[in-house]
């Protein structure tokens, strides 16, 4: 793996003509194994930054690199490979509502081309890791918010991605569940996965005690290697 896993090179994003930039002239590099929290008010550009990493949004100016590859110049096939190599977790969980927990996680393995035997072995294992082994045949609507988020994390890490992007993963959760989710993310990071977390939650950021990037009106205004939540 290269020494820099993610690199934003003077990235600006303007959603439509006349709108203020959602992200403005951001240059950032993230190294393998880092746990980076991105904090800021709503509309500061945190989510846009993450969306550019899995190519849901393209930059208006500048370039975003994953390793040595420029994300927005990848072919459709390469983009699919990239998405399989990056795990994503969202505030609203985004589970597949008509599939049970086993199928939700198996789906990520299937699209990555894993065999049925591997899937049968990996799904219970990853659910065990997030403490939901007993809910394997439940449907998303039968789970609490915290449980759904743990399933989403299980799905995001089951392919052992190099990078995990977590966009406000604790936003819909009570403090206890939020704490549990952060503990899981830290454990994943300890196993070598680079984690990018956007959040509003001061307690969460302070409990992590790692690099904190603060954004305001689309710009990076602070970047502390062992920061606290300061706006």
């Amino acid at each position: 793996m290269p020494s820099v896993v993610i690199y934003f090179d003077k990235v600006t994003k303007i959603y439509f003509d006349g709108a203020p930039p959602a992200v403005e002239d951001v240059t950032l590099s993230i190294e393998p194994g880092e746990f980076v929290s991105i904090v800021g008010h709503s509309g500061a550009g945190k989510t846009t930054l993450l969306k550019m990493l899995f190519a849901e949004v393209s930059p208006t100016e500048g370039a975003v690199f994953y390793g040595s590859r420029e994300i927005h110049k990848l072919s459709d096939n390469e983009l699919l490979q990239l998405r399989r190599a990056i795990g994503t977790v969202f505030q609203d969980f985004r589970l597949l509502p008509t599939k049970n927990i086993y199928e939700n996680i198996a789906f990520a393995l299937e699209v990555a081309g894993k065999s049925d035997e591997d899937i049968r072995a990996d799904v219970p294992h990853v659910l065990d890791l997030v403490g939901l082994a007993e809910k394997i045949w439940s449907f998303p609507h039968e789970l609490s918010g915290g449980e759904q988020q743990r399933v989403a994390i299980a799905r995001a890490i089951v392919n052992q991605p190099d990078v995990l992007l977590a966009d406000e993963p604790t936003g819909n959760l009570d403090p206890i569940n939020a704490h549990d989710i952060v503990e899981i993310l830290k454990r994943i990071n300890d196993l070598g996965t680079t984690v990018l977390l956007t959040t509003h939650n001061k307690t969460v950021v302070d409990s992590i005690g790692r690099r904190v990037i603060t954004m305001d009106q689309g710009r990076v205004v602070r970047d502390n290697p062992q920061g606290k939540y300061v706006l």
Binding site: L80, L96, V111, K114, D116
Partner: protein, 305 residues
């Protein structure tokens, strides 16, 4: 990983989503059943209309009357020339004796005519040729040809085209209009039910648009996302097709005698059973194609990289 594993997974998810989205599936199946029923009815009514038109067309002909003095040779020559025309379907020879017999049969109750005939002593009627065209609109061409033979000196007494002309022209018009009208109505019904089905499936997939977005984000390829929806669409078609075929059997059976009375020779039940393969392939073919195509187009809208 083999392609076969992918196909198996896509088919399984299609079936699972069909079952789990029970209510949506039910409404799509009901809707498509109506569409496929329309397809079945169009085939049946098309065949019924056609049989009526054939029956009517068979009633029309042009008769060439020869002079009583015409020789067999002269008549054979005219018959040969007419048969050679591309517009002519058949020619039937009616001898002088046959003409007399049918004249007598027609006027059996008419004392005055029969008496006059007896007083004549000999057969006053000439032989005749009944000419049938391949298409009712071609009688005029045939009649003109016969007239040209007449003026060229053939032993032709008269052609009854002039008397029949009005009826033939009118019938040609009716046949032509009913064919066009039939095609028009069929197209209208087919297109409107197609649009309704397409819309139902699109609505069913609209409810899954977020799911499609998530699949994209997890890195699922286009066909892996699209596949299960297409499989579900095909299942809608198969079930609806089966329902329509099962319903058509007792329905045509109950219309069997009524249809024969109404259309003359056309029996809907006989037609349905003797053309079962046509119904089977048209209904299932339309169902599968409609389900698969609607799903394909509807998912495409939400599939973005």
């Amino acid at each position: 990983m083999t392609m076969w594993v992918n196909v198996k997974r896509v088919a399984r998810y299609g079936l699972i989503s069909f079952i789990r989205n029970g209510f949506t599936s039910l409404s799509a199946v009901l809707n498509m059943t109506i569409t496929l029923f329309v397809v079945g009815m169009l085939i049946l009514s098309g065949a019924a209309l056609n049989s009526v038109l054939v029956l009517l067309t068979d009633q029309v002909d042009v008769t060439v009357y020869f002079t009583p003095a015409a020789t067999m040779n002269q008549i054979a020559q005219v018959q040969q020339q007419l048969t050679a025309l591309p517009q002519v379907a058949t020619t039937t020879y009616i001898s002088r004796e046959q003409a007399l017999a049918s004249f007598e049969a027609r006027h059996a109750g008419d004392q005055l005519t029969m008496q006059a005939l007896q007083e004549l002593g000999s057969n006053p009627l000439g032989a005749a040729l009944e000419v049938r065209a391949k298409d009712t609109s071609q009688y005029e061409v045939i009649a003109k040809y016969i007239e040209s033979l007449q003026s060229a000196g053939a032993a032709i007494d008269k052609v009854n085209y002039q008397q029949n002309q009005m009826a033939i022209t009118r019938l040609s018009g009716i046949i032509d209009t009913s064919r066009k009208l039939g095609i028009g109505i069929a197209l209208f019904l087919a297109i409107s039910s197609l649009l309704i089905t397409f819309n139902t499936i699109r609505l069913a997939i609209y409810t899954s648009r977020d799911e499609i977005g998530v699949m994209n984000l997890v890195g699922a390829g286009r066909w892996y996302v699209r596949g299960p929806f297409i499989v579900a669409g095909i299942i809608y078609g198969l079930i609806s097709g089966l329902v329509v075929l099962v319903v058509l059997y007792p329905l045509t059976l109950s219309w069997a005698s009524g249809s024969q009375t109404f259309f003359g020779t056309f029996n809907v039940f006989t037609y349905f059973t003797s053309h079962f393969l046509l119904f089977f392939s048209a209904i299932f073919g339309c169902g599968i194609a409609l389900g698969a195509l609607s799903s394909y187009l509807a998912v495409r809208r939400y599939l973005k990289m």
